[in-house]
Point group: C2
Chain length 209, copies 2
């Protein structure tokens, strides 16, 4: 029989709490996601939970940050090869948009919406939202192999992430996946043409310079 | 001294309740929007409120429907002249996107998010969401003078409304209006090129046929 070292057990407990928080938010909503409910779902004592996360807000913001960062690590691992072409663009756009249709988005939506009517929570969430936005934008640019200094590319990659957020919202109450797939296909074709144009502008700039 | 007829007074009361519901949802969130709070804000007795709206869900769904329909009537009145050209497309896209950044969107977001974790509420909200989606799409097609039977146009007008929803969500916690104006300008240029292409396809189809 092996025993986990104390530090590993503590880390595993923390992780179970963070995952239980995201699942509870997505399934049961903001009001139902109390420290007590999450602790019970994770099978962790109330005392141990409060040792890791003194307040409900600490638990919820830590859960969003941890899940977002792990998702981004995953995304970066998946897309090592950047090749051009509409098939690649479509694959990247589909991947970006899927980020906004899962459990993490549904959990975040509960927190964002609660923060809209709660100034103290808003103060904690706004810097998180800004960081998530910056990281997601940078990841999208890298995966697309795009030039963010081109103003059209910059804005259309932002628009792609805004679109992803809107499609995520459309998927909250009903399964919107079939329509979403059609939107992805058409949007990716437009975005790819924009990237091709931008590469053309860059190439002719180099020739002229 | 004039006295309003009874029917007009009743209609005015109803309207005050609907407006107070939207304002309370947008400012104070789902949990705080009770029949008692709305009645007090509207200056209407609890009894009179329950005469108009027997349950909280009746009040909230009626408020969303009334506000959405009045907004759509307004939109239709504003855009009588459909002219082509990127300036017109930009005006229409800006108008559509503004629909999703105001009090009505913020109120609806509270209800949509609560419905995500409440199956009974979800059952009432899903048909509403479907109707809002259809009506908003038809209004967008009319204002753009676009041909919805063209599959690229159909999907890209849908994407415009999804983008609008995502931009609305980005505006909930912080004022995103400057960035939004840039996105509108760039996306409207893309959408206008798509509409011009579609008109070209339609014209050559007519010639060929």
């Amino acid at each position: 029989m092996t025993r986990e070292p104390k530090q590993d057990r503590s880390r595993a407990t923390r992780l179970r709490l963070l995952e239980a928080t995201i699942d509870t938010l997505a399934e049961s909503g903001w009001a139902a996601t109390t420290v007590g409910v999450v602790a019970q779902r994770a099978g962790v004592s109330r005392g141990a939970t409060q040792h890791h996360f003194p307040t409900r807000e600490d638990l919820i913001t830590a859960a969003l940050e941890y899940m977002f960062d792990s998702r981004m690590d995953q995304v970066r691992d998946e897309n090592l090869d950047v090749v051009s072409g509409v098939a690649h663009t479509e694959r990247v756009v589909a991947g970006l948009i899927e980020q906004y249709s899962g459990t993490l988005f549904k959990a975040a939506l509960q927190v964002w919406t609660a923060a809209a009517a709660d100034p103290a929570l808003r103060e904690r969430i706004v810097p998180l939202e800004e960081r998530f936005g910056r990281v997601a934008h940078r990841a999208a640019i890298e995966q697309l192999g795009a030039d963010d200094s081109d103003p059209v590319v910059h804005r259309m990659v932002q628009a792609t992430l805004d679109l992803a957020r809107g499609l995520g919202l459309a998927d909250v109450l009903t399964d919107d996946s079939r329509r979403r797939a059609e939107i992805v296909r058409h949007w990716a074709a437009q975005l790819d043409a924009i990237l091709v144009d931008a590469r053309g502008r860059q190439a002719s700039g180099r020739t002229a310079g």
